[in-house]
Symmetry: C2
Subunit: 341 residues, 2 copies
């Protein structure tokens, strides 16, 4: 039976690549087989082959495509665009452009991944700007927020399209039938904040019957981690500031928390009794579980895995890509954008 | 001896007013006396007088000024500006306008406090826009960030002036001799993000010898709680989003943390041994210690105390106002802004 979908994997991207990549793919081998998903592994065959010896069943669904070079963490997109055509990242993205693959997953340099993808892959018909999104944990579930930095400046049409893309993303990944969408603002009353946000609300009002979501209203920064809405639409500047502020605070608190736990023999002793509960807490906060920023709006699914993640984290990024393919994210967006425009 | 400074207190503002207000002032009675600071207490004398019976020494430095009405939490600034002239908040701000007081402190409605202050009190000469700031804890100290929401849209001159005001604020409250200032952006390389942020950097470069601070460069959302810079300058939209994202995350994590601690008899038992360490952790995070958003740029110090705080929190807000007066914040800003313009 022919494979239904093909995912291009940048096997060299990320701090722990290629081990985390290959081991991660092996973790979801059964899922990939069941859903008829084939893999193209981009990287140096000499480096990759020994790993495939350790995870031999992957050979049944994978083909190595030779790429001599690797994009480095500090490479500028402009440099890679000029002379990075032999990198595993470039070639993996190119495979999507050439219809040899339907999606690309990389744990490499974010700026380069987004820059090359935007250059090589066309946009979904009707989409004005692509956007970066990810899932953030809230009190009971996850919230999708977009844009997280692809577009520093936006207008009301961008915000409206982000809402549509985010809600289809939320439907597929979180099973929300009619996601609730909020617009990030600095006050929740109508008329607050920036003009184009109010204009985006007017678009939602005018197109009410044609939206794939329920419009909730404005939300603020402290609503992101409450389970108030399923999708938050925002410009890429504010979205990036919000995301990084959340990450910085979580890191600040967890670092301080660690200090509390190792402070003295007495607290260490107390910790023994609490270990289970603390483990559960950490498990809930585990960023590997929502690993994967997705670049939405292109004719092909582009997923950025966190550079420092392990096999489990990488496997989740590939699962995101797979589910967006299996549930036909791209066609659904094209269809809903037609209704909106 | 005549009093050197007078602070107008909105004695009715805040969830726990007037008790938290009067008890808070009593906590710092010695400091106020030592620094020759007198108080004007705005509110209903019938309500306030019984509290002054409980804290009688406050009578030595306080005068009650009758105000029949109180601004409510959900009052719109436009309504209070039309018909709120008998409120304790309005009258307290008016006292600064009329030079009867040098500063005003209120735990009431933020929008009304900022709106009325902007309307009644003139701006420091040379200042284009006032800004809201507060101190945020970082790994080893506190960082001042501004603007936090007074100006949704800003230009390079606003950002440059915020940097000047923030650095004098940081000098006075944190004792920084040459504060390090960063501009909030979505990347740390020069040329990243929005145009006016790059233009603000150019102003700093051109005025290098005339700045009361050291310019550090761009910082990102996850740098706010690191001790990377002492002051972060940003537009009021991004600043508000960042602040609320931080607050929301801290609340999200501490709520989950509480659940961990009360989960079972076993964890409760473990908690007994860790109590001291956890207490220290909470103490460091105690928002009452950095209670007080300050509205900078007006001819008079305007401090907003958190509405839900207690006497200790309110006393810290009054201490902020006092120290900004004693160290002559307003004249210092006027002087530095002259050099910048």
């Amino acid at each position: 039976m022919a494979n239904k979908w093909t995912i291009a994997i940048d096997a060299m991207g990320g701090d722990n690549a290629p081990l985390s990549v290959i081991a991660g793919l092996d973790l979801i081998y059964d899922y990939l087989v069941k859903n008829n998903i084939a893999l193209l592994l981009f990287g140096d065959a000499k480096v990759l082959s020994p790993y495939l010896v350790r995870y031999p069943r992957l050979n049944n669904i994978s083909t190595i495509v030779q790429a001599d070079e690797v994009v480095q963490g500090d490479d500028k997109p402009s440099k890679i665009i000029r002379k990075g055509r032999n990198t595993s990242m470039w070639k993996a993205i190119e495979a999507v452009r050439n219809k040899q693959a339907d999606a690309v997953v990389s744990g490499g340099n974010t700026g380069c991944l987004m820059g090359i993808s935007k250059l090589l892959i066309s946009m979904i018909e009707g989409i004005r700007r692509p956007a970066i999104t990810t899932l953030l944990p809230n009190t009971t579930d996850y919230t999708a927020m977009l844009d997280l930095g692809a577009n520093a400046e936006c207008d009301e049409h961008n915000i409206a399209q982000f809402a549509v893309m985010g809600s289809i993303y939320s439907k597929i990944l979180l099973g929300k039938q009619k996601p609730k969408v909020g617009i990030l603002n600095i006050g929740s009353e109508a008329g607050k904040g920036l003009d184009y946000l109010t204009k985006a609300e007017e678009i939602f009002e005018a197109k009410k019957e044609h939206l794939p979501f329920e419009y909730f209203g404005f939300v603020e920064g402290d609503d992101i981690m409450k389970n108030k809405v399923d999708v938050i639409a925002t410009d890429g500047f504010s979205g990036n500031v919000a995301l990084k502020s959340i990450e910085g605070t979580a890191k600040f608190i967890s670092t301080d928390l660690k200090k509390v736990f190792v402070k003295s023999p007495l607290t260490m002793f107390g910790y023994l009794f609490m270990r289970g509960a603390v483990k559960k807490f950490k498990n809930k906060m585990d960023p590997r579980k929502y690993n994967g920023a997705v670049f939405l709006g292109l004719n092909g699914v582009v997923v950025k895995s966190h550079g420092g993640t392990d096999a489990f984290g990488f496997s989740n990024a590939v699962l995101y890509a797979s589910r967006l393919l299996v549930d036909d994210f791209t066609s659904k967006v094209a269809e809903e954008i037609k209704k909106l425009n």
